[in-house]
């Protein structure tokens, strides 16, 4: 895993790849980055000069779903090219080395590429105030490892909702005190590629962008690349016309569901979820949740685990307040009853104590 100083263009030509092949690579890259084809020439020019960066991948409190997703990215040739082009110097799951050797590789890469390498993180980690014992690697707390690696990183890419927002480990009541990467990293650029897991093409798309332009893509307020997270599922959903017409499936097996109507009433979180599923799709572009008839869970949004039932429509409160309502009603009845009874007593008293108006008193006013 030595670093090559060749540009991508040089490296591709060395592999005997024609200009057509290169253009095709660029077309695929543009598509992956969700950029319009009109940018292919500039992508080509940039890629021609791109150099392979060093990447360190840290996995904390996670389920490896994000790595699974990345390795299932549906354009292996291009992916290979990109992975060939980057230098993945440390990845728990994928690397061959283990134990001290693995940790040594990491330290070495960090030293050699100080200030240059990309740090990818999947999984959330126990915050600085939590018990570090919830998650350690080689005896070091996640927090210490993250801080050590961040120090020399050019940028941090948080892959998955756990790394981006805390995700499942941070779900109420958050026993491990899990926090997201951006909660801890304030002095380095952080890109969040949220999703549980993220769309595989989105992970590689962000890498491709960095590779192509040597800078991070434009981000939204959650530090997510706008190219992928700029529009909601709802806005790009092919079932949107049914929503607009008010045609909804009400159960999973009714005529509306079979006719492919909108899944809002079955709990679809598409309106409040920003992700690229509707265009990128899953499983080699085969389909995506809504196309397969299931409402969007909103997995790329913060706290989606705590946002009420997956099958409750978006407009339904997360707390069913029957108890509160009853308690408030009873209190209201007691207080209201008391106040009103007092008022009634007062009226009676005023009536009883009322001093009659006499003619003499009236005459005084004349």
């Amino acid at each position: 895993m030595t670093q090559s100083n060749k540009t991508l263009g040089e490296s591709l030509r060395e592999h005997g790849i024609s200009r057509r092949g290169f253009l095709k690579f660029c077309a695929a890259t543009a598509s992956m980055m969700a950029l319009p084809p009109s940018l292919i020439p500039s992508i080509a020019a940039a890629l021609e000069k791109a150099r392979r960066p060093s990447v360190i991948w840290l996995s904390f409190q996670e389920c490896t779903g994000c790595t699974e997703s990345l390795t299932r990215s549906h354009s292996p040739t291009i992916e290979d090219l990109i992975l060939d082009t980057i230098s993945l110097d440390y990845h728990h799951t994928l690397q061959a080395a283990s134990g001290d050797a693995a940790e040594a590789a990491r330290t070495e890469a960090m030293k050699a590429n100080h200030g240059q390498y990309l740090l990818i993180v999947d999984g959330s980690l126990p915050g600085p105030d939590s018990n570090p014992g919830y998650s350690t690697i080689a005896g070091h707390s996640n927090y210490d490892i993250l801080m050590e690696c961040v120090e020399g990183a050019a940028a941090v890419i948080a892959v998955g909702t756990c790394a981006s927002f805390g995700g499942l480990p941070a779900a109420d009541p958050n026993p491990t005190g899990a926090v997201s990467v951006m909660d801890l990293v304030k002095d380095k650029p952080v890109v969040n590629v949220s999703g549980c897991p993220p769309v595989p093409m989105v992970i590689s798309g962000v890498l491709a962008h960095y590779l192509t332009f040597a800078q991070l893509p434009e981000l939204d307020q959650y530090h997510r690349p706008k190219a992928f997270f700029g529009q909601s599922i709802h806005d790009r959903c092919y079932r949107r016309p049914f929503y607009d017409k008010g045609l909804f499936a009400e159960t999973f097996d009714d005529a509306g569901a079979r006719a492919g109507w909108c899944l809002y009433r079955l709990g679809c979180k598409g309106p409040s979820t920003y992700n690229a599923c509707a265009t990128m799709r899953w499983n080699s572009g085969t389909s995506w949740p809504i196309e397969s008839g299931h409402p969007c869970l909103g997995c790329s949004e913060p706290r989606f685990w705590d946002a009420g039932g997956f099958y409750n429509p978006l407009s339904v409160p997360t707390t069913t307040s029957g108890g509160t309502l009853l308690a408030a009603g009873v209190t209201g009845a007691i207080v209201g009853g008391a106040v009103a009874a007092l008022a009634r007593k007062q009226v009676k008293a005023e009536e009883a104590d009322r001093q009659p108006v006499t003619v003499d008193e009236l005459e005084q006013k004349l």
């Binding site: 095709k24 077309a27 598509s31 319009p36 084809p37 354009s75 040739t77 291009i78 092919y238």
Partner: protein, 146 residues
Amino acid sequence: MSRLRGIPIQVDRHTDPVHERGNALPILHEVRHALERLIATGEGTQIDLNAIPFGPGDVDRLTAILGTGEVSATIQALGPTLIQETAIPGVWLVDYHNSEGERLAYHIEIATTPRILGAQPEDLATSIDALDARLQSGSGDQRQAS
């Protein structure tokens, strides 16, 4: 992964004409604008069909409407790229696949010739060297070429 395509996912659709066209309609209008531009200025356009939120079957409907034209070509570079002229001259379907047959990108290109189809100037620079090399190396390659 290509086996996934074998899973018969089918969604019932209304059969009225508006539903039939789905999201294909706006793309057709975009193609029309691009054609006008091509005629007026000679400027070509590429539309990335992967970036369009199509519903099931929309792409098939789109290509069915565009029809099949006279030219079809296959480029073998990093896997096959299938080029098909549509029944509308100047409108091409360019389908990029990897060597495992999976689609990398799918474009509609509005141009006299798809850009990727013509010989590339960057490659031309090495053409004479390549030909010279073959001339010098004897007849073996020439036989192959004939």
